[in-house]
Symmetry: C2
Subunit: 271 residues, 2 copies
């Protein structure tokens, strides 16, 4: 059950609605951004500041108009909250044919409310099984980190994920481990936590930043060999939370108390 | 003036309409393809077979359902033709949240009819002025050549194009010349015509393939130095046709009879 709303900038309020113009630049070029938020039962979003920070980075990267952030802040302030998760989509709105954005675009802002799935560690207590995807991420430093609407590589990766796997690990064109199809990835080497550097590709996830802020994490170039040699692997995503990776191909990893502790402290934020 | 139609697969006909669902995968992920066609005054599209061939490559690359091509063929057969140009957009339709496409997607097919601009060599007889863009194309062999809806690199490039320029030349992350922002590019070395290899990125344009089929063209890795040392440069695109490049930065190129002959023979197809 999803309820969808569209921001009406003239009336400065949300309206029930489920359609966008066929010449929306989000559809034509993927010219926009999105965020998937988990909400507390009272409708608040404890990690909104991280979502907002990534949106700001995206608005700058795509050179959206300077007033876009104020519009988003006002829309979020007024957003309906009858759900436990929401997807926010922001596009550069409609425009004439051609790649050049209008001088004064009127943004399309979509708010979809739905029921969040249970945390992945409850749904899938044994952890995720995955393997390396054969879909390599292309490198584009100008778009790295942000959550834009150009997601064909993720679609290709998800299509090719074998039955029984919950995730896949994506390498870039230079064979560096970057992320999961819909998650960030962390490896533990003893007590040390390492996560791939995302300066050339990958999405800088909200739970990734929460975790980096929460504990000591080193961002580094990570090879597949290093991942396979590590002591434990975990993945993060806004809806799944923190999840232990049980296997990458034939390599099996044990669960551990540090991962359980991260699961607990994240879950507590949403009570 | 643009007239927009949506294909109704149940009724097997086009309907006037200008909106798509906000959960269309074309909007969510850029999960689709498009073609921009120039039409003859009688509404036919002389180069349709090249557009169709690229669509087939795109449908295969994105793993669209096997019946997608038959649907597109039927839709194109019945498409309204009261215009001199059309944009065809095909997406994987709506779907539940998440990257995984529905098992049996119902495609969204959009047909926008409009008036084609005059050929670029008539509008801009002195030729195009351009420079190298600082937006580098990422390399993704699985998506190279096809005209999918993930076009943020082109949006970024077009935004940064200086006033007075009609095009920009895009290099890839390894410094190879690939294409223009909205055109393919060719260089002439004496009587030899060379065009960049598009196996890692770039759009394999319809006029590019017409030209390769029309005359002897070598596909090769092209460096910026090679482009600047060449005797003439031209660009191609479905609406602009074949256009002489007058300048790339401070390097100026002469027009030549071979380019004029290609302009004439392309234009003749559309009379």
């Amino acid at each position: 059950m999803t309820n969808t709303y569209l921001w009406n900038p003239a009336a400065r309020r949300w309206q029930t609605g489920n359609s966008v113009k066929s010449d929306d630049r989000g559809l034509s070029y993927g010219d926009g951004l999105f965020e998937t938020l988990r909400l507390k039962p009272d409708g608040t979003c404890p990690l909104w500041h991280w979502h907002r920070q990534r949106l700001v980075q995206g608005l700058v990267a795509l050179d959206f108009p300077i007033n876009a952030l104020a519009l988003i802040d006002e829309a979020i302030e007024q957003a309906p909250r009858q759900g436990t998760a929401a997807k926010l989509v922001i596009t550069r709105g409609t425009g004439p044919r051609g790649y050049l954005p209008p001088a004064e675009p009127q943004l399309t802002v979509i708010w979809q409310l739905f029921t969040a799935p249970d945390w992945a560690h409850n749904r899938c207590p044994e952890g995720f099984d995955c393997q390396f995807s054969d879909i390599r991420l292309s490198q584009q430093p100008l778009l790295a980190g942000i959550k834009h609407l150009n997601r064909l590589e993720q679609v290709l990766c998800r299509q090719r994920m074998p039955d029984g796997h919950q995730e896949a690990i994506m390498l870039d064109q230079d064979d560096w481990v970057i992320e999961g199809c819909m998650s960030n990835i962390f490896l533990m080497e003893g007590q040390k936590i390492i996560t791939p550097d995302l300066s050339r590709c990958g999405v800088n996830g909200v739970i990734r930043r929460w975790l980096i802020n929460q504990t000591s994490v080193t961002e580094a170039s990570v090879s597949a060999e290093r991942l396979l040699k590590s002591d434990a692997v975990l993945m993060t995503n806004s809806l799944n939370g923190v999840i232990h990776v049980r296997s990458v191909g034939s390599r099996r990893y044990d669960h551990n108390p540090e991962i359980r502790e991260l699961q607990r402290s994240l879950q507590e934020l949403f009570v």
